[in-house]
Symmetry: C2
Subunit: 404 residues, 2 copies
């Protein structure tokens, strides 16, 4: 087997959100009848239930009307929009961002993650990844032929913060980890790192010379007024060793425009631009104009959106906890829940397929987020409220049908 083939064997995408249609379901045997109900696709947010920021399409149209200047921006993005975005993000994260040096506009936060990883690691580099964390993190390390070092996060039992095992993190750093990549709020567990955790991460990275990429995609959607800590605001870690990633794809429902932003280290951002030049040139030129609506939502719009999500969360958590043997930590930020189910007669991968075929409910298997999460699945609850609640009843029925 050649080395490209080997690399791609590890790069499965069939369990990724939206890819379910490409799965092979030949071997699934259902027990019991189909459970009728309105389809709910918890694999990603429903932008029909929660629509894009009002006015975002108008910004796009204005971008088209600007013409060539907007179509052919610098690879790191339009100067005007970088300036505007840097100011908003500097304010939000209490950090300094020079729009000329410290910020790049990317095709989605996925694009930012790819460019950041491609700009910092290469073959045999050790990369610390939290378990559980966003599934692409691991795949990115594998694509660049690095070595994943998992750091445990006891999110189910922690009372303050995410529950990251800081001792393990220090051991990993001591053993030569080059880069630490993590999401805050955590995807899939929906938890926020405490101020102490963030400070300690920064101190360890600084003392061992480790680069850090922090994915803050969901950091605007905080529930119950919990305290959120921006790593970039700490001034502990050398700012040239830190990249922060954000974007308007989730809470703001602009995923269809493929927009993301990375900011921080000028050295890494510079490399990211060089890489972007051969990956996709730039984030869609006209699309970039849509960033004008970001952090510029109508008065009260964001507060309402957060409240609506918090209400869905409350109903789903209550109903999930009612299912015997299900354990779930309530989401502190973002739109994810990561429930753990009791022992079943089928594997998690089978359970997820059964749920889709038998109950019209799509979730993402926990194993995508770390090899040990064989009893968990992820749900994005940015959905039609009542449809989501009803889907939990169907999940319960499937759990009962296949309970060991």
């Amino acid at each position: 087997m050649d080395s490209v083939e080997k690399k791609f064997l590890k790069l499965g995408a069939e369990n990724a959100p939206g890819q379910e249609g490409r799965q092979n379901n030949d071997e699934i045997k259902l027990s019991g009848n189909k459970i009728p109900g309105k389809k709910v696709d918890f694999s990603h947010g429903d932008v029909d239930a929660f629509e894009p920021i009002p006015g975002s399409l108008d910004h796009f149209i204005e971008g088209v009307q600007i013409g060539g200047k907007q179509a052919y921006t610098e690879y790191r993005g339009s100067e005007e929009i970088r300036e505007m975005t840097a100011e908003k993000l500097a304010d939000f994260t209490s950090s300094k961002i020079n729009p000329e040096k410290n910020l790049i506009i990317t095709p989605g936060t996925q694009g930012a993650l790819f460019l950041a990883m491609g700009s910092t690691i290469s073959r045999n580099d050790k990369v610390a990844i939290v378990a559980p964390d966003y599934f692409a993190n691991r795949k990115l390390v594998e694509f660049f032929e690095g070595e994943v070092v998992y750091i445990s996060m006891d999110y189910l039992h922690s009372n303050s913060g995410a529950g990251l095992d800081l001792g393990q993190l220090e051991e990993a750093f001591k053993a030569g980890v080059k880069l630490f990549l993590f999401s805050n709020p955590n995807n899939p567990a929906g938890v926020i790192y405490s101020p102490d955790e963030i400070r300690k991460i920064a101190e360890l990275a600084q003392s061992y010379g480790v680069q850090v990429v922090v994915d803050q995609l969901y950091s605007r959607q905080i529930f119950d007024g919990i305290n959120y800590t921006h790593l970039a605001a700490q001034n502990i870690l050398d700012s040239e060793n830190l990249v922060t990633i954000m974007g308007p794809s989730k809470t703001e429902s602009l995923s269809g425009y493929r927009l993301g932003v990375a900011f921080g280290s000028s050295k890494i951002i510079n490399r990211m631009e060089k890489l972007q030049a051969i990956v996709s040139l730039r984030a869609g030129g006209y699309n970039q104009a849509v960033l004008k609506s970001w952090f510029h939502e109508p008065e009260g719009w964001m507060a309402q959106r957060i409240a609506q999500h918090q209400a869905i969360r409350d109903d789903l958590v209550t109903k999930l906890r009612y299912i015997k043997g299900v354990k779930v930590r309530s989401t502190e930020a973002g739109s994810y829940l990561f429930p753990r189910v009791p022992e079943l007669t089928v594997s998690m991968e089978e359970f997820v397929k059964i749920l889709r075929i038998q109950a019209n409910v799509i979730v993402t298997p926990g194993t995508e987020f770390g090899p040990e999460f064989t009893s968990s699945f992820r749900m994005n609850f940015s959905q039609d409220h009542s449809a989501a609640v009803e889907a939990i009843d169907r999940i319960e029925k499937v759990v009962e049908e296949y309970r060991k």
Copy 2:
């Protein structure tokens, strides 16, 4: 120096189109006065002079109105749009394209190139690249740590076809080249491979088991009714070893939407989708809807566009040839000219900077397209006709000023 740093030293982007603003011009000394005139940026086409396909924005807006289904397509692109596009491309290239297996929608043709290269080569693989050819080709091979094997193309002296050195190509294949990547029409020389050249490339690739990626970005813009040969239509090379790349960014002026398509080998397309899943998820969902306008232009629109470009080409070639010592082959297809200038007192990189600062004319240095092209530069003549013609007068003045 660590291995990431080494890799990025080779990945310069400051001479790439649109990146001129990031160049360091401290050491440029001008001889003579500024030469006034309307700025012409020949580094890429001017989409204000040649506007996007009529109705393309309407398709985008319809895409937004479709909502979630259009925002979250499969990573390889919307099923409906893949079907539509496969049919149009199968017709255009006289090849078979199963929309389910043989086609992926990408963020621009640059995205298609990146995914195709990342899906076929890895460290130490030999990759044959034509000299001259599109500058990202070489950079892609270097990023994936492959080894570039240059194949000469004597475009200036060939009478039939592009002038590819087929003997050299066979030697390279014999020596273990894994992949052959080339553009047809050639970027930057604007020449078309003859039916004989294409047949021979296919035969050699088939007999040595070499994979081929052919970039046909400009294959709709053919001048003087010259015969264009689609490699995919030859049925000589195993179709699982061939990927063809096209897109609507150039002749159709849709670059601001970042859309491209790769079609051919199901194995490679499958890998490209897995890679897309970690690179940028998908081409912008709403953007994909704009492909509906592609190959569906208003009656006569494409013929007129080609005629307009042919007229600009004629004027520029005549004027360029009038400059003593300048050699240029007339464009057969696409919007590029690749003139060679006489000996100058400055290097080509300096000449290009001088041209921009002194004469308000932007071109791309020949060394981007192959190390030996130290006396050539590339011009994209998809520009305002009279501004382009006037810019040649200024180029002439700068040549005279710095002639050895």
